[in-house]
């Protein structure tokens, strides 16, 4: 579904991604783990068209989207839940959710998806008219995910959804991710919380200083000695 080949990104002289190649197949949960500064967010921003690559290709459903702008990429069915949630402060929960459906014209579909977001995140319905800024960290994460789902994406890119949340909430968020995937949305998950990320992944990649150093099924990587040492604390 998503095919990235030999992707390079430079920030000035810094080579942030060095020939990254990954695949995400329809229906999968693919996790990308790695330390701070490994290039995980850069990769997602590159897929979303926020950052331009210097070389390499990104294909989505057999169409080359490498040079496309952010708007066309969202329209093609790729939506990102950015790191740090990035909800629109000063706007209500409802307005935030509607921003997710910005490119859609099907009023009925939007209404239906809004209902299903409320079903998934009942808290958001309770706080519909509230300023999104006043939500707790966990609620903001749910809002960011709900907002992304409002675009009715084929693939959801999640950037550190567990960041800054209590272990209990992290579990809840991951349960929701599995659930979203079960309902047919493909997931590319970027995480520092390697244990959780590998636990739910069909397949996973390890990114280190801009390079993919390991890949395999979630289980394989969870059991790999290298991963245990570097990412799982033992």
């Amino acid at each position: 579904m998503l095919k990235i080949r030999d992707l390079n990104v430079h920030y000035g002289v810094i080579n942030a991604l060095k020939g990254v190649s990954i695949d995400v197949n329809q229906g999968e949960i693919v996790s990308l783990i790695g330390a701070n500064g490994a290039g995980k967010t850069t990769l997602l921003h590159c897929i979303s068209g926020i950052i331009k690559s210097t070389s390499g290709t990104i294909e989505f459903e057999n169409n080359d989207i490498t040079k496309k702008n952010a708007k066309d990429i969202v329209a093609a069915g790729i939506t990102q839940v950015p790191e740090g949630r990035r909800i629109f402060k000063g706007m209500s929960v409802e307005e935030n959710l509607l921003m997710g459906a910005y490119l859609r014209k099907d009023k009925e579909g939007i209404k239906k998806d809004l209902e299903s977001v409320f079903e998934r995140f009942p808290r958001l319905k309770e706080r519909l008219k509230q300023n999104a800024e006043t939500l707790s960290g966990g609620e903001q994460q749910m809002l960011a995910m709900g907002r992304a789902l409002m675009a009715n994406p084929k693939i959801l890119l999640l950037d550190e959804p567990s960041m800054g949340l209590s272990p209990l909430l992290v579990k809840e968020i991951f349960k929701i991710i599995i659930d979203i995937n079960k309902q047919g949305t493909t997931i590319l998950l970027v995480e520092q919380n390697a244990k959780m990320a590998l636990g739910i992944a069909n397949r996973a990649y390890v990114l280190e200083t801009g390079k993919i150093v390991l890949s395999g099924t979630g289980e394989e990587l969870s059991n790999s000695d290298e991963i245990k040492k570097a990412y799982l604390g033992g």
């Binding site: 068209g49 952010a70 990035r86 509607l98 921003m99 997710g100 910005y102 903001q140």
Partner: protein, 292 residues
């Protein structure tokens, strides 16, 4: 007391015009963090376009307002496209200096084309007075206030209730996140310029009527005052610009009424200094705190 009420009325009608100009400053600042110093000149051109249209066609207030607003909206978009868009990723000081350059360009071009001497703006509003005890309100003041209030309601509606308005707010809070929603950021910025410039155009016509005289440099002082009004209210915050504009108008009128009109500009500038020292974020501004 009568004197106070009289000045209050004068101040509110003048201030509502400052508010119209301040809205453009604040919206543009909110979305691209640029103090558009050419904004005062767009307001001046609004007055000139209104002047030319009204004298040539002899039409009344509403068509003149519409023509002037449409002209300024287009002008705002064109200026943004030519002068500011190429500098989107440049430092803020570069864009600021460019804005000053645009301002001089507009002033000099108008001086060249229209001449430097003042022009008499046609009286598009009926002259007359309403007397309430010892306080007098001119018809012009009533009309000006009504028009500005209608325009502000329209703006508030666009910004809070429409899709493009939501996009404007989204882009101004977080441009990249807005991009991730599929919002066309450039289009949204253009729209913001159009909206702000249209309001400035309306303000130009209203001031032309109020003072019945226009000059190519008329944008300078009101431009700076509207900018102060925007800072006073909290730059980037739309209701802040409305409140700031009206307060600046009232303060000016009171200073002219009770002290001397020679000091009114000085007082406004002192207020700017005080705000910057005491509450740099402005009346409605908040200190931004990150939630983790």
């Amino acid at each position: 007391m009568n004197q106070f009420l009289q000045q209050l009325i004068n101040g509110i009608s003048l201030g509502s015009i400052y508010a119209l100009i301040a809205l453009g400053y604040t919206m543009v600042y909110g979305i691209i963090k640029l103090i558009n110093f050419a904004h005062g000149d767009i307001y001046m051109l609004g007055a000139y376009v209104g002047f030319i249209f009204a004298t040539k066609t002899g039409m009344g207030l509403v068509p003149t307002l519409i023509v002037s607003m449409v002209f300024c909206a287009i002008l705002g978009v064109v200026i943004e496209m030519i002068a500011y868009k190429p500098l989107r990723n440049a430092t803020r000081i570069t864009a600021l200096i460019t804005a000053i350059g645009v301002s001089y360009f507009l002033e000099a071009s108008t001086q060249k084309i229209m001449g430097t001497s003042p022009r008499a703006f046609p009286a598009l509003l009926p002259k007359g007075l309403i007397k309430l005890g010892k306080v007098t309100i001119t018809y012009q003041q009533v009309f000006i206030l009504t028009i500005t209030i209608l325009l502000m309601i329209a703006l508030q509606f666009i910004v809070t209730k429409t899709k493009i308005g939501r996009a404007m707010r989204a882009v101004s809070t977080d441009t990249d996140a807005a991009r991730l929603m599929g919002i066309d950021v450039n289009k949204t910025i253009s729209f913001t310029f159009a909206l702000g410039s249209a309001l400035a155009g309306a303000a130009g016509v209203l001031v032309g009527i109020y003072y019945s005289s226009i000059t190519p440099l008329m944008g300078l002082v009101p431009g700076v005052k509207a900018f102060i009004a925007a800072v006073f209210g909290g730059i980037g915050i739309i209701p802040g610009a409305m409140i700031g504009g009206i307060l600046i108008g009232i303060i000016e009128a009171l200073v002219s009424g009770y002290g001397s009109s020679l000091y009114k500009d000085a007082v406004v500038y002192v207020i700017l200094i005080i705000i910057l020292v005491v509450k740099p974020a402005g009346l409605l501004g908040k200190n931004i705190r990150e939630k983790v």
